[in-house]
């Protein structure tokens, strides 16, 4: 798994207003794991990614390695570095399986 890249067939966008709300909720100590901030549209179906998933997704541009993605995420979240890397790895693996990300 080198530099994962979004499947170009998938149309997506960051829902900025929603993202701002979720960030606020997190600051207030609420759980926002199940709240989508990025939508993906594939063959007429809409899917959502939560804040962390969305941030990883945004960075899967085929230019960044998993380590680099985790590095960038580390500046945003106060989470253990190894934990973050494991999360990124797990998420990317899952999305590659679904065909949403392509591994070159």
């Amino acid at each position: 798994m080198n530099k994962p890249q979004r499947n170009p067939e998938i149309v997506w966008r960051v829902e900025k207003r929603r993202q701002a709300e979720v960030l606020k909720a997190l600051e207030a100590g609420e759980d926002a794991d199940n709240r989508g901030t990025v939508i993906l549209i594939q063959s007429g179906m809409m899917h959502q990614l939560n804040l962390v998933g969305g941030m990883i997704w945004e960075r899967c541009d085929g230019q960044r390695t998993l380590v680099e993605i985790a590095d960038e995420m580390a500046t945003e979240f106060a989470v253990e570095r190894s934990e973050l890397e494991a999360d990124v790895h797990e998420f990317v693996t899952d999305l590659i399986k679904r065909g949403w990300l392509i591994n070159d």
Binding site: V11, R13, V14, E15, K16, R17, R18, G36, I39, I41, G44, M45, M46, Q48
Partner: protein, 333 residues
């Protein structure tokens, strides 16, 4: 906040009528008798910028006949260059090999052609245009030749509801990957010619029961319906993005002057894309809000399907009763 605006900051699709002008005068047309001032190219390009800014991913040109606008290619090339997924619907009359290549070069992702009957004379009579069937079919071939994805649209009415199998075969024979069997909307000319063209509620039920079974077992062709009233059928398993009509939730319609309506079949203007703040329209329009949170009225109250069906097609209810919340006149329950 409704389910829609909780997540979405803008629709996924804008159905965009650049012009109501058309080289045809079809019996079912919702727009033939409409008139509306058109915008100059510079304003149209400004609208594209607004759509990009609002992150609207899909634009579908309809009409009127989009190929009548001389600047269609310029607009499409600009829109696709800015990352929009551009498609259109045409009657196919002007779609020769050269035009197909130009559409491809302008970045169109797919082009839909309307065909109402597999029999040339019926289609031509319905469209009041001799020769239109042949040109529509050769339009499909032209698209296939240049490698541009084609779709076929058929408005289900009395002239074709018993012969849609043949329409599907026609699609197959001409390289079409997806067929839209549109529900009949009673607005514009379709409203005037309703008695002659529309099916009765029981006929709609029988049609959808069968067509749904065909859809579920067809693998070589994608068959799409856009009728929320089918969600009350027992065989209906599809997971749709929203409940009920998608207009005002996943899609909006643009009139030639930049006015926004919830859909092409609901002539209620909620704002203008060039002059009004988009977020205010999207989040606060009382009309859009009403469409997104309908209340069960008449036979819908107590109907077990209301959760999914939401009273069916809002455009049809509105056209016949003037009230969004009334049951869809096609409903067989």
């Amino acid at each position: 906040m409704t389910e829609t605006t909780e997540m979405l900051s803008a629709p996924l699709t804008f159905n965009w009528t650049l012009s109501y002008r058309c080289n045809f005068a079809c019996d079912h047309c919702y727009s033939r008798d409409e008139t509306c001032p058109e915008l100059p190219t510079s304003d149209i390009l400004k609208i594209v910028d607004v759509l990009v800014e609002q992150q609207v991913p899909f634009v579908n040109f309809g009409g009127g006949e989009p190929l009548i606008r001389k600047d269609l290619l310029e607009v499409a090339a600009y829109a696709s260059g800015r990352g929009l997924n551009v498609s259109m619907n045409t009657n196919g009359w002007l779609l020769d090999d050269e035009a197909a290549q130009q559409l491809k070069d302008a970045g169109f992702k797919s082009v839909g052609i309307s065909i109402d009957s597999f029999e040339a004379d019926k289609h031509d009579a319905f469209r009041n245009m001799p020769g239109s069937f042949d040109r529509a079919v050769s339009g499909l071939d032209a698209l296939q030749k240049v490698g541009l994805k084609s779709t076929m649209s058929s408005v289900i009415s009395r002239i074709n509801y018993q012969s849609y199998h043949e329409l599907l075969d026609l699609a197959r024979a001409h390289g079409v990957g997806q067929v839209y069997l549109h529900n009949f909307k009673c607005s514009g000319r379709g409203f005037k010619n309703r008695e002659e063209l529309d099916l009765s509620p029981n006929e709609w039920q029988a049609f959808y029961l069968e067509a749904l079974a065909v859809k579920n077992r067809t693998t070589d062709l994608k068959i799409s319906f856009d009728d929320p009233v089918i969600s009350s059928l027992p065989d209906y398993q599809e997971k749709t993005m929203v409940k009920g009509s998608s207009c005002g939730k996943l899609s909006l319609h643009l009139r030639p002057n930049g006015d926004i309506t919830p859909c092409g079949f609901i002539p209620v203007v909620v704002g203008n894309i060039l002059h009004d703040d988009f977020a205010t329209i999207w989040y606060d329009s009382p009309v859009l809000k009403a469409m997104r949170s309908k209340s069960a009225t008449g036979k819908c109250s107590g109907c077990s399907a209301f959760d999914d069906c939401q009273g069916g097609c809002t455009a049809r209810a509105f056209a016949t009763t003037g009230d969004f919340n009334q049951p869809d006149p096609h409903c067989w329950k």
